[in-house]
């Protein structure tokens, strides 16, 4: 079989769209809070299971189930900030402590899901698996098209929100210079909480999309976090377009790479890309030199 370039690109676009939603939320939280919120991955899985519970188990209308799922994701993110991160920040905890706390939260939430739902995979079953459509030699299902379009739309809306709205500007101001933001009368703590709410809502949407596209299992949060994190670093963590581009790159590397290598190497490929960037261009593709930061 010849190298199926169209199919690989299509698959990269699909998975990259999910990674990008994870990555931009993660970047937003990172840039305002300046610590690595790895439990962001747990929010994605929690959202997947929330959709499974509300839609598949409780038979709520799909739209309502989605709204509840996104709301729950924001609540989870907000609670993690209020209950764990904010008290730690108040005590001036080091970034290492924050990192350990976030790993702890990731593990805790994944294990809670395991406890409640068991280890066997869950399927949402929104649509019968339909015949794929052939687009330029790539087979894509209608669901996958909707998934990519939803993600691209949301990413655009999020980008415009950050660029054009007052709230977006204030979030960027806190990300840029927290002390000055405070002196100017902005409320950094409130804006940091808001970044958790918005970032986690994006994680919730990523969770919905991945739950529709793949089977759910409790440990997938770690995997998604690795991909979203890598996408953000590769693209430039302070840049929305950067995080998006980086995520598509990670998706492409992993799809093209596993065409040549066994699929068990998927994460190894992502890590290779991540390490290459950390070594050669740590600020990422869209990182700028002059934006001095301590």
């Amino acid at each position: 079989m010849s190298f199926p370039i169209a199919q690989l690109l299509a698959n990269s676009l699909i998975i990259g769209s999910i990674y990008a939603l994870v990555a931009v939320g993660f970047s937003l939280i990172y840039s305002t809070n300046r610590f690595v919120h790895l439990a962001h991955g747990a929010t994605v899985v929690a959202a997947g299971y929330a959709l499974y519970s509300t839609f598949t188990l409780l038979h709520l209308p799909f739209i309502l189930a989605c709204i509840l799922t996104i709301a729950l994701s924001s609540v989870i993110g907000f609670l993690m900030f209020k209950a764990i991160y904010e008290p730690l920040q108040k005590r001036k905890s080091s970034t290492v402590i924050m990192l350990i706390a976030s790993i702890g939260l990731l593990t805790l939430i994944e294990n809670l899901i395991l406890l409640f739902f068991g280890a066997d995979v869950k399927t949402i079953g929104l649509l019968e698996v339909r015949q794929g459509i052939n687009i330029a030699g790539a087979i894509i299902t209608p669901l996958q098209i909707v998934l990519v379009l939803t993600s691209l739309t949301l990413l655009t809306v999020f980008y415009l929100f950050m660029k054009k709205t007052t709230l977006g500007r204030n979030l960027r101001a806190v990300a840029d210079h927290k002390e000055l933001a405070s002196i100017m009368g902005l409320n950094p703590t409130r804006l940091m909480a808001i970044s958790f709410i918005i970032g986690s809502a994006l994680a919730g949407i990523a969770g919905i999309l991945i739950a529709l596209e793949q089977n759910l299992d409790p440990s997938m949060g770690t995997d998604l976090m690795i991909k979203g994190f890598s996408g953000a670093i590769v693209g430039g963590i302070y840049s929305v377009p950067g995080s998006i581009l980086g995520s598509y790159l990670v998706g492409t590397a992993e799809n093209v790479g596993t065409w040549f290598l066994p699929s068990g190497y998927k994460n190894a490929i992502t890590f290779t890309l991540l390490f290459l960037f950390l070594l050669l261009r740590p600020k990422g593709i869209f990182g700028v030199d002059k934006g001095v930061r301590e």
Partner: protein
């Protein structure tokens, strides 16, 4: 207008300021000078509740403001431009100014204020969509000052606004500050490294050493032997 009385303050256990008394009257420019590490910045930070105050009071227009929250200080008309990184470097000039004017609700009033600011700092108007970090040192100081003035302060706290500027630009900045004071009826408390310039340009000057005020006076203190010897003699 501003009265700092018997202020002792520092960082946690560490006391930096000892029994400091400073007064700023209406429409007055007051300079704080002294060697590095004397505690000049700490005085300004104390007004903005960024230090641990162990003793003393700060009053503004007969109202005690010691430990007021930032937004309460801004509401009362006190604005502060700190030392160091003084702008939102990744934000545009226009966004930086908008943050200064964020509490102006009326669109009309906002654009009038902005237009007025541009008459004081015409250079900013030509670079509205540039990011702040692309500005030169002098322009950065202008932007920080302009952003603070957008808040329509009655008292402006400036921490070394001439830092890194050429002597010519330093002079221009002082002239501009005097102009702003006359035009806006704003009092200015300014920390300044150049003792001579400060004494010449300010209405009154305080000399701070090791956290204590050791001298205070008008333009005449330039004749003071200690000022002559230590601060104008080249060792500082």
């Amino acid at each position: 207008m501003l009265t700092i009385q018997n202020l002792s303050a520092g960082y946690g256990e560490l006391e930096i300021l000892h029994n400091v008394n400073v007064k700023v009257n209406d429409d007055e420019i007051v300079a704080l000078i002294g060697p590095n590490g004397a505690g000049k910045s700490t005085i300004l930070k104390s007004i903005f509740a960024l230090t641990t105050i162990t003793h003393g009071t700060i009053t503004f227009n007969a109202e005690e403001i010691t430990q007021c929250k930032t937004h309460q200080l801004l509401e009362r008309g006190i604005s502060y431009v700190p030392q160091g990184r003084i702008n939102f470097g990744d934000l545009t000039i226009s966004e930086n100014l908008a943050i200064g004017g964020k509490d102006i609700v009326e669109k009309q009033e906002y654009s009038e204020r902005l237009a007025h600011i541009f008459t004081l700092f015409p250079v900013l108007k030509t670079k509205l969509s540039h990011t702040a970090f692309s500005l030169s040192g002098g322009e950065q100081q202008m932007l920080a000052l302009a952003r603070a003035l957008m808040q329509k302060p009655k008292l402006l706290l400036l921490d070394e606004p001439t830092l890194g500027l050429s002597p010519k630009l330093q002079k221009e900045l002082f002239t501009l500050l005097q102009h702003i004071r006359n035009l806006e009826h704003v009092s200015i408390l300014i920390v300044e490294q150049n003792a001579k310039k400060a004494i010449e340009s300010a209405d009154r000057t305080y000399l701070l050493e090791n956290g204590s005020i050791i001298m205070e006076g008008g333009k005449e203190i330039i004749e003071n032997p200690k000022i002559q010897q230590v601060y104008l003699g080249g060792s500082y």
